[in-house]
Amino acid sequence: MLANTSSLQSAPQPAILHGVNCCETHAVNGSEHERLTGQLDSTENEWVTLMIRVRDHSDRTAFAALFTHFAPRIKGFLINSGADAAMAEECAQDVMTTLWQKASQFDPTRASVATWIFTIARNRRIDMLRKQRRPEPEDLGWGPEPEPDQEDVIALQEDTNNLSAALEKLPSAQRDLIQKAYFGDLSQSEIAKITGLPLGTIKSRIRLALDLLRHEMK
């Protein structure tokens, strides 16, 4: 991550990509794009907007923008997790296809776009590398609200940003451990050495959302 990003953060610039013309956004040049990518803060709202267009309008241009940003990251993540390049490529394509097929399940009040894609990629990795399915908890309710409260969406984005910033601030040894835990490079006893992950308020917000959902189901 480059250090000099504060001016970019104060002016929300969408990290929309060349050749993709959608939403009320404009393309940024390559170097700006490099500086913006990898950050969740000013761009997360953009990903949610694109994701909602995929979900509600089967918008292929929005999908292409999400693909261009996320597919190389999924591929990098899978290679870090022990997949070879060919398998990571195939898996990243599968993950993006699943994003399209399961778009109706995307709920921006409970997960950022990156979080949601991570969960799809993780499950596909288990399926491909270990030939296993991953047992999933029961679903709550009947899926996401068609028109979620914008305040809830933004609040979750802020929590995600804060969590991202808190992870950045961890001592590098601790951060390395967490990365290795997610890449599958740590044994359970090594994972036990990870202490005090800075979840901040995101957990209490998700907890609150679950309480509301339970209340509505009664």
């Binding site: 990518t37 990898g38 969740l40 292929r60 999908f63 292409a64 261009t68 996320f70 190389p72 990251r73 591929k75 990098g76 993540f77 022990g82 390049a85 490529e89 990243a92 394509q93 296809t97 399209w100 097929q101 409970r110 997960a111 950022s112 990156a114 979080t115 894609i117 991570f118 969960t119 990629a121 993780r122 270990r130 030939k131 296993q132 991953r134 047992p135 999933e136 908890p137 029961e138 679903d139 929590d159 995600t160 969590l163 991202s164 992870l167 967490i178 835990a181 997610y182 599958g184 740590l186 359970q188 994972i191 992950l197 979840l199 995101i202 957990k203 998700i206 907890r207 679950l210 309480d211």
Partner: protein, 212 residues
């Protein structure tokens, strides 16, 4: 009744990371189905994974990949939707049983106790246990931690009472003798994070796990 005994953070994080053996994933998914506190933790650890993935090194996709994916977006989806009905068994356990409690293929193991091994990969073992009211849990050995999730009834272990949704985590160095509550027969999902040391009968282990 609210859940008193939860999973530890490291197990919840490893579940989100996707690095646990299948049987441990199953007991976590079952507990999380009953416990919103732990569900909120798992979704938070999912967010950590999202951040790490978003910040991980980019590896360029092949030149034709976007076109290939766009071409297959509208192919019919072949996944069959999972059918789960509300029951005594949480949804993820029903998936392994093939139904609710009435579909469990119990095998008696003495003293009225019955068990059913669930078909997971062999690195860890998941089984359902049926313990008649007031009976002590059977003796079994395991070399890793054991997770015991109560699905019906309750059991006591020392001073603690474990009821539906509660999960007990016993390390291998702890001697414990859980006893089913007198009020009702107790059904648990017990998972050992190591192959179970079977005694006296030949288990039908299907080697589903492919090591890479």
């Amino acid at each position: 009744m609210t859940i008193q005994h939860h999973l530890d953070d490291n197990t919840l994080m490893a579940y989100a990371a996707g690095t646990l053996p299948e049987a441990v994933n199953l007991v976590v998914a079952a507990h999380v189905s009953l416990c919103d506190e732990c569900r909120a933790s798992v979704e938070s650890y999912d967010a950590v994974g999202g951040i790490l993935m978003d910040q991980s090194q980019h590896v360029a996709m092949s030149g034709e990949s976007l076109a290939q994916v766009l071409a297959r977006l509208d192919l019919p989806v072949t996944d069959k939707p999972v059918v789960r009905k509300p029951g005594a068994l949480p949804g993820p356990v029903q998936d392994y049983v093939g139904g609710d409690l009435d579909s469990v293929k119990w095998k008696p193991i003495g003293m009225g106790v019955k068990q059913a091994i669930l078909p997971t990969s062999s690195e860890a073992t998941a089984r359902l246990l049926f313990i008649p009211a007031g009976v002590a849990m059977p003796d079994h050995s395991h070399s890793g931690p054991e997770f015991t999730l109560v699905l019906q009834g309750a059991f006591f272990d020392a001073d603690d009472r474990f009821a539906r949704g509660d999960i007990e985590i016993a390390n291998d160095d702890v001697t414990h003798t859980p006893i089913a509550d007198i009020g009702e027969d107790c059904i648990c999902l017990a998972v050992t994070d190591a192959p179970l040391e079977f005694k006296g009968w030949v288990p039908r282990i299907v080697q589903k796990f492919v090591d890479i």
